[in-house]
């Protein structure tokens, strides 16, 4: 059950500084639960970001990324009011997309 991300996209000139907070357990498959059973591998594998519908950033990642991942990246050619969406997909096929409008920088 994919929980919402929190995305912050702030303009610095024509570059959008993007920060994404994801809610995901990122289980390595090596942790034992309270009953002593191994918790299965469960982690985000791919991430993409679109600027007004066009892919501008992409990543393949492993289960070594921390629980509740946080990523930062910077997208070129952005302006205030543009739509920035981020999608993640995990190894169970679960998926989540969230979108924000890029804000003018301070």
């Amino acid at each position: 059950m994919a929980e919402p991300m929190k995305i912050r996209a702030t303009l610095q000139g024509d570059v959008a500084d993007v920060r994404v907070l994801m809610a995901h357990p990122m289980e390595t498959g090596q942790r034992k639960d309270a009953a002593g059973k191994l918790v299965p591998l469960h982690f985000i594998q791919t991430i993409t970001a679109q600027l007004n519908g066009k892919t501008v950033f992409a990543a393949d990642v492993s289960q070594a990324v921390s629980r509740n991942p946080v990523f930062a990246f910077k997208v070129k050619g952005a302006k205030a009011g543009d739509k920035l969406s981020v999608t993640w997909q995990d190894n169970t096929g679960d998926k989540r997309t969230d979108e924000v409008v890029i804000r003018a920088g301070s």
């Binding site: 492993s62 070594a64 990246f73």
Partner: protein
């Protein structure tokens, strides 16, 4: 069990091999996506992971900046921030050399992103954090040692 996920990266790795495969008609030109690189992600050492990614002759470079702590407060959440100043950078890859599976991921910055990324990772023990940058069909690398230790009681 994880599905064999399609990689979201443009074929930034093994540029030579991909070009050959396309030329040989094994891949249609429009389909530049490789399968999510299971071989690299399941490699148990950095050398094998790099081989699986098609990385060869990675030159040491001082133009890759890694911001990471000398000593991590908690090995479950270690900040790594990477900036590549190498012109034409298309991708940034991260390997935590002493992790059970060192290959941690690749960030494709070839489609309109600045060659910069921040991530937070789990480290099993003190280890070099190695970064490989792909730029102009060549590979560049640098590493930073990060020590992990158990903390105290509080916080």
């Amino acid at each position: 069990m994880h599905h064999t996920r399609r990689s979201v990266l443009r074929g930034v790795w093994a540029v030579g091999a991909l070009a050959t495969a396309v030329a040989a008609g094994l891949l249609s030109p429009g389909r530049a996506f490789a399968a999510w690189n299971k071989g690299a992600f399941e490699a148990k050492n950095t050398a094998d992971a790099m081989k699986a990614l098609g990385v060869s002759n990675a030159q040491d470079s001082r133009d890759i900046q890694i911001l990471a702590p000398d000593i991590a407060e908690n090995s479950a959440v270690v900040l790594i921030e990477i900036t590549s100043n190498i012109p034409g950078t298309t991708a940034i890859s991260v390997f935590i050399e002493k992790n059970p599976f060192p290959y941690t991921g690749t960030f494709d910055v070839s489609q309109g992103a600045v060659p910069y990324v921040q991530l937070r990772v789990k480290m099993g023990e003190s280890s070099p954090v190695r970064v490989v940058v792909a730029a102009g069909g060549k590979y560049y690398t640098t590493a930073k040692e990060v020590k992990v230790t158990i903390g105290g009681c509080g916080g």
